[in-house]
């Protein structure tokens, strides 16, 4: 399938990357960043929101550092999953992404910034023409959203990346940079509705790395993923749970979800409620039920939303199974 035309820029350093971005912005040329390419390139082949310029971060060596607490944006998921330095909750999510071949290319930054997905959107140009396009890629037609018809202001495409919930649960901080400088924020604050806005990145800004807090090794957890097949498939629902125990008692608990809405969910309130009055298995059930209630998937992925919602409860409970064991 022939790529639509765009100019590829391959900077060797962050500085060069930002200066290319600046140049393009100042001449009013739209552009995308590309990291591993496993998300952007198939979308481009299908002519989904193609920009005239693309800046590749593949050659930027500053972004590949991987330590216990520092994960560069250009770290490949394969390396993240295989590394001994990676927290088990993060590697559990990383090794569940797509297939081993995809993970050889795909990056941490690319996964966090994964474009939202919808079966009305992730289709070829011919196909989308046959439905008169959709809001997320309207090709200048002001087309309606095909999931929630009769409106073209909200996109409900689903965020189906695996890494975010695990990182959120571990209290990760995400670091962004642009020519104007750097900024950091808790992972949960990075994402921003709707399905087209996706996150807080400004034009010319990229994710440089993620850091984990120093106490990360004290956290344990699990990531549960719902999908049809054990390879290739995006999460139809994903639940990460992390906990900290002090003297055998649960002292802290975090839950985050993905694959259910246009941004990942961080279920602070739900986990606090049960944590305040911890009653073991009963609390896990309560937590699972409240997480289920808090998510509102729509019909735009492989499994129907009612099923995905019900499974959130099962996944949450299963992710908590280690929590009820004495060992951790």
């Amino acid at each position: 399938m022939k790529m639509p035309p765009f100019q590829l820029h391959s900077p060797k350093s962050l500085e060069e990357a930002f200066s290319i971005a600046d140049e393009l912005s100042s001449s009013n040329r739209e552009f995308d960043w590309v990291a591993g390419g496993t998300d952007l390139l198939p979308n481009y082949k299908w002519h989904l929101n193609v920009k005239p310029d693309v800046i590749s971060l593949a050659g930027v060596s500053e972004l590949t550092l991987l330590t216990d607490t520092h994960i560069g944006a250009m770290v490949r998921l394969h390396d993240l999953a295989e590394s001994e330095n990676t927290h088990s909750l993060v590697s559990a999510a990383a090794e569940s992404v797509a297939s081993t071949l995809i993970r050889r290319s795909a990056t941490v930054g690319g996964n966090l910034c994964l474009d939202t997905r919808c079966f009305w959107f992730n289709q070829t140009e011919d196909w989308r023409e046959s439905i008169d396009w959709c809001h997320k890629c309207d090709c200048g037609t002001d087309a309606d959203c095909r999931v929630i018809p009769n409106q073209n202001t909200l996109c409900v495409a689903t965020y189906q990346a695996d890494l975010a919930p695990s990182l959120m649960c571990l209290g990760a901080t995400i670091h962004l940079a642009s020519k104007d400088g750097e900024r950091s924020m808790p992972m949960g604050d990075f994402f921003q509705l709707d399905g087209m806005t996706r996150n807080v990145l400004q034009e010319g800004e990229i994710v440089t790395h993620v850091t984990l807090p120093d106490d990360v090794s004290e956290w344990h957890g699990d990531y549960q993923k719902l999908r049809q097949r054990e390879s290739w498939d995006f999460p139809e629902a994903g639940v990460a749970v992390a906990w900290k125990k002090t003297g055998g008692d649960v002292s802290d608990l975090r839950v985050a979800t993905t694959g259910l809405e246009s941004i990942p969910g961080y279920h602070e309130e739900e986990s606090r409620l049960v944590l305040d009055d911890w009653r073991g298995e009963e609390s896990v059930d309560l937590l699972s039920e409240s997480v289920r209630k808090s998510v509102k998937p729509v019909l735009n992925t492989w499994f129907p939303p009612s099923y995905r919602r019900k499974m959130v409860k099962v996944l949450t409970r299963r992710a908590c199974s280690g929590l009820l064991e004495d060992s951790k």
Partner: protein, 946 residues
């Protein structure tokens, strides 16, 4: 790099009389140097890479020929030509080295100098009239050489002559999203795609039909118009009504099962997208390079559409990257490439994006099947009632046949008291359905086998014992009159029962673990060819040519699509002539050089083509034996063929090498050539539709699947499959096992995850390999292939098919295992987790439990009937062994189990037994879903014929 062990190689020169000469003697040249009058022309050697003839492998020679190979299923007509060389031995595919080195050329690997890139403009509408096509902007684009539309080729085509309803491109209407409207040829892909963008097409959108049930109704504008043969004003493309046996009494039974099934459509999912290259050579002939299963039918269709004689066309079959029925129609894009190449005078290549593969489709029909099965108090299957409505999509393709197959292919392996079938195929505005591995038999077979499981549950008998007590014997006739020869069904069931530990597991495992059985029955070749009168033309023809080098060239038109047909034909010839495979070369690619073979469909190739090859090789064999007899003076009858040596059976020292005999035969005429062919014998009965499902032999299979169901999520994992298949004789066991395991994989996809899913707007929402969920390596269970060899009297060396039949049993085996694991009986495929979970929730409500983990699973306590059917099974087993060994067993017609005279068809001896192919008025008062298609009157019979 890997380690390369050194192969010790002794270099020596050896004379052809067998005396070894040391290296120091190498100056003493002997051999072929001809010096008339001085030296005699040396005797030729044995040929082949290994100069020494191998001793006869007695373990591969049948007992009837003095070898040690046991023949529990009796003698075979090919016993005396068995040389023990290659047949029955695991054999690498003869083309596998091309495949593993990247040298195999598939459709998109044919690159001709100066070629253009073709692209197709496709309909964005489900159903629309094409009002105008303006290609002026596209033609103005530099690099664009031609645009073609429906006006460039107005002749209709279709794989079946009775239902030609396709065109190269839209004539007046487009019938599904993705239907062909026009095509362009340009110097490169970017220009071709840009040209497609610039072509302006004006449409008038029409009301489209998406639900197959709507296709049964009258429509203002049916998707096709069949003129006077049109059925009412509906979209019914084909309808079938059949009643056989004692239909009247069958519902009056001890146990009845009734279920309404919904099967999603499935796609072949081969890895190679369609691709074609067309080239009109300087002499004005067309060569079309394409990965095709049916080069011959394409050849005919091209001649029709392009309006040139067939001899002006050479269809070149490239390597085929998977077919499974999805490359067995002549396709419009093949016509487009030829039209564009003719217009531009340059080669044109069209290769598909994956989405286009789904648009051309021809996959398994989405189906609604009503299945009722009845059993009497003796545990006999007193009746099967099937009502199958199948969704054909926008074109007929093989659908005429599929409509029959959904019924007639479950009239065996069981002896049944009555059979009622109504089938209808409708056009809808979807990509066309067609033939896919297990053509027409898969869905209704699943419904039958699941129904039997339910019947056994009601009767409290073991489902394997129940089946064993209801099998047709060898050399019998089904209720519809199919001639069944060899049957290994019983052995298949017995073997999987033992291997799987069935008796310790069935209805005994904990919640979430289950085991299930399913059987299958499939044609081994279609009795009737699509185009030809079988009494006049053969189905398959093979030519052999052997020149002085001793190598055998096989010319065959059989299309190797990865199943190994080139290998099987090479093996067959090698076996008969006693040659190693390295002396055989297969030329099967071009219609210019290949005799006609009808193609790789209906599981016909091994059966028919190997039979043709054997008869061609037997001609050569006779010549070699005659020559040997002349040289040695031994009578021909005493001679046998071993490895490149022909000798006296009773005195192996007397004989000559293959090359010596060959050269003797060639003395007067040069190269030996021969031709062999295969045609089916006259078979079957004479009612309308009697030919559908007729085959010279049938394959049988029985699988047991063990599954694990996560009852909290509805996810099913198949852990192990014991898969027994009766292929008559495994000519190449490696390939047979590969076909069995591969069939498991494909069938498992259909039962668990694969579906062509149409959204609320009628669009196919998953035309890609991410959302068309083909099982990955992680979903694959461990498969234990078990080969049963029933020694078919007509099959080549006893062989029958192994490519399609093995797919059938996996679906019901898994469905039945899911029931065993959960107590949930599903009737909608695929059993995706969400569907199963919904059913589990329903069962929880019914059981009055709050969590799926508290569900009850089915248990069994045998009834009195169990002992009775076990006894019957035992006595049938003895009956069958006797019948399969007998030289000419007496006739056995379905019905004997119900007390009729086995020697006469039921309807000829009992007035309650019928054979009816049109519905009564009484039936039409409350027909089944598909049966309601018969409410329409054909236009010609309405008196308003057009």
């Amino acid at each position: 790099m890997w380690m390369t062990p050194q192969i010790p190689r002794v270099i020596r020169i050896q004379d052809f009389r067998g005396e070894k000469l040391g290296e120091e003697d190498s100056d003493e040249m002997v051999g072929y140097r001809q010096q008339p009058g001085k030296l005699p022309f040396s005797k030729p050697g044995s040929g082949g890479k290994n100069q020494f003839s191998e001793p006869r492998d007695e373990s591969s020679i049948p007992e009837s020929q003095g070898g040690s190979k046991a023949q529990p299923w009796g003698d075979h007509r090919h016993d005396e030509i068995v040389s023990g060389r290659v047949i029955g031995k695991p054999t690498a595919l003869v083309d596998s080295r091309w495949k593993v080195t990247g040298q195999a050329q598939y459709g998109d690997d044919i690159r001709l100098p100066g070629e253009l890139v073709g692209r197709i403009i496709r309909s964005p509408h489900h159903y629309a009239r094409v009002l105008s096509i303006d290609a002026s902007k596209a033609l103005d684009l530099p690099g664009v050489l031609a645009v073609a539309t429906g006006q460039d080729a107005t002749s209709a085509f279709g794989v079946l002559p009775v239902t030609k309803d396709e065109h190269a491109m839209a004539q007046d209407k487009v019938r599904h999203v993705g239907d062909l409207v026009a095509c362009v040829a340009a110097v490169d892909e970017a220009s071709a795609r840009e040209a497609c963008r610039l072509i302006e097409v004006e449409y008038e959108v029409l009301d489209s039909i998406h639900d197959m049930r709507d296709g049964l109704e009258d429509s203002d504008l049916p998707i096709h118009d069949r003129g006077k043969y049109h059925i009412g004003e509906s979209n019914v493309q084909k309808r079938v009504f059949q009643e056989f046996g004692n239909v009247e009494d069958m519902r009056d039974s001890m146990a009845s099962h009734s279920s309404d099934w919904l099967f999603a459509g499935a796609n072949h999912g081969f890895t190679e997208p369609h691709a074609v290259v067309a080239h009109w050579d300087p002499s004005g002939r067309l060569t079309l390079y394409t990965p095709q299963q049916v080069p011959h039918y394409l050849h005919r269709a091209l001649a029709d559409v392009l309006e040139v004689p067939m001899h002006q066309i050479n269809v070149y079959r490239t390597f085929v990257g998977g077919g499974f029925g999805g490359k067995s129609d002549p396709f419009p894009h093949e016509m487009c490439a030829a039209i564009l190449a003719r217009k531009t005078g340059k080669p044109v290549r069209i290769n598909f994006d994956r989405e286009e593969v789904f648009w051309v489709n021809r996959g398994r029909h989405p189906s609604r099947i009503g299945m009722s099965i009845h059993s009497d108090s003796e545990g006999r299957i007193s009746g099967i009632e099937t009502d199958a409505l199948i969704d054909g999509g926008a074109f007929a393709s093989f659908g005429h046949v599929t409509t029959y197959y959904n019924g007639v292919l479950h009239t065996a392996p069981y002896e049944i008291g009555g059979f009622h079938y109504t089938g209808a195929r409708v056009w809808t505005n979807k990509p066309a359905s067609g033939a896919m591995r297990g053509h027409g038999a898969v869905n209704s077979r699943c419904a039958v086998e699941v129904g039997l499981d339910d019947i056994c549950e009601q009767l409290n008998v073991d489902p394997i014992d129940f089946r064993l007590a209801n099998l047709l014997p060898p050399h019998s006739s089904t209720i519809t009159g199919f001639r069944v020869t060899s049957i290994g069904m019983r052995e298949c069931l017995e073997k999987v029962r033992e291997a799987s530990g069935w008796d310790e597991k069935f209805r005994k495992m904990p919640l979430g673990r289950g085991i299930g059985v399913g059987c299958g029955f499939f044609i081994s070749g279609s009795g009737l060819p699509i185009h030809w009168d079988p009494n006049k033309f053969p189905h398959a023809t093979v030519h052999l040519k052997i020149d002085m080098d001793g190598g055998v060239t096989i010319h065959t038109g059989a299309a190797d699509i990865g199943q190994g047909s080139d290998t099987v034909v090479a093996q067959s010839v090698a076996e008969v002539l006693g040659l190693p495979l390295d002396m055989i070369r297969v030329r099967s690619r071009e219609t210019d050089t290949s005799p006609v073979d009808l193609g790789s469909y209906s599981s016909r190739v091994t059966f028919m083509n190997a039979n043709a090859a054997i008869s061609a090789a037997m001609e050569i064999r006779a010549e070699l034996i005659k020559a040997t007899s002349e040289i040695t003076g031994a009578p021909e009858k005493k001679l046998v063929i071993g490895d490149r040596r022909i000798f006296r059976k009773d005195d192996p020292a007397v004989g000559v090498s293959y090359l010596e005999a060959l050269h003797k035969s060639q003395e007067d005429r040069g190269a030996l050539v021969s031709s062999g062919s295969y045609r089916t014998p006259p078979m079957g009965r004479v009612h309308k539709g009697a030919a559908a499902g007729l085959a010279p032999a049938y394959s049988f299979s029985a699988y047991v699947a063990e599954v694990e169901v996560d009852v909290e999520t509805g996810q099913t994992k198949v852990l192990k499959v014991w898969a027994a298949h009766d292929c008559g004789k495994a000519l190449n066991p490696l390939s047979v096992e590969g076909q069995i395991i591969g069939s498991c994989h494909m069938g498992m996809g259909q039962v668990l995850s694969e579906e062509m899913r149409y959204g609320r707007t009628g669009h196919l929402i998953n035309p890609d390999l991410l959302d068309y969920k083909i099982p990955t390596v992680h979903e694959m269970p461990q498969v234990f292939p078990i080969i049963v060899e029933s020694n078919d009297p007509e099959g080549p060396f006893g062989a029958k098919e192994a490519g399609e039949g093995p797919l059938l049993p996996i679906l019901p085996a898994v469905v039945n295992a899911v029931y065993d694991a959960t107590g949930v009986r599903v009737s909608e495929l695929p059993i995706s987790p969400d569907r199963l979970y919904k059913a589990i929730e329903k069962k929880c409500r019914k059981d009055g439990v709050s969590s799926p983990t508290e569900m009850k699973t089915p248990r069994i306590s045998h009834s009195e009937l169990q002992e009775k059917i076990v006894e019957r099974g035992k006595s049938h087993s003895e009956r069958d062994i006797e019948r399969r060994r007998g030289k000419e067993p007496s006739p056995y017609h379905n019905g004997a189990l119900f007390g009729l005279d086995p020697e006469v068809p039921g309807d000829e001896q009992d007035s309650r037994w019928t054979a009816v192919v049109t519905p009564s008025e009484e039936y039409l008062e409350s027909p089944g879903l598909a049966g309601s298609a018969w409410k329409h009157v054909e236009r010609r019979k309405r008196g308003d014929s057009q």
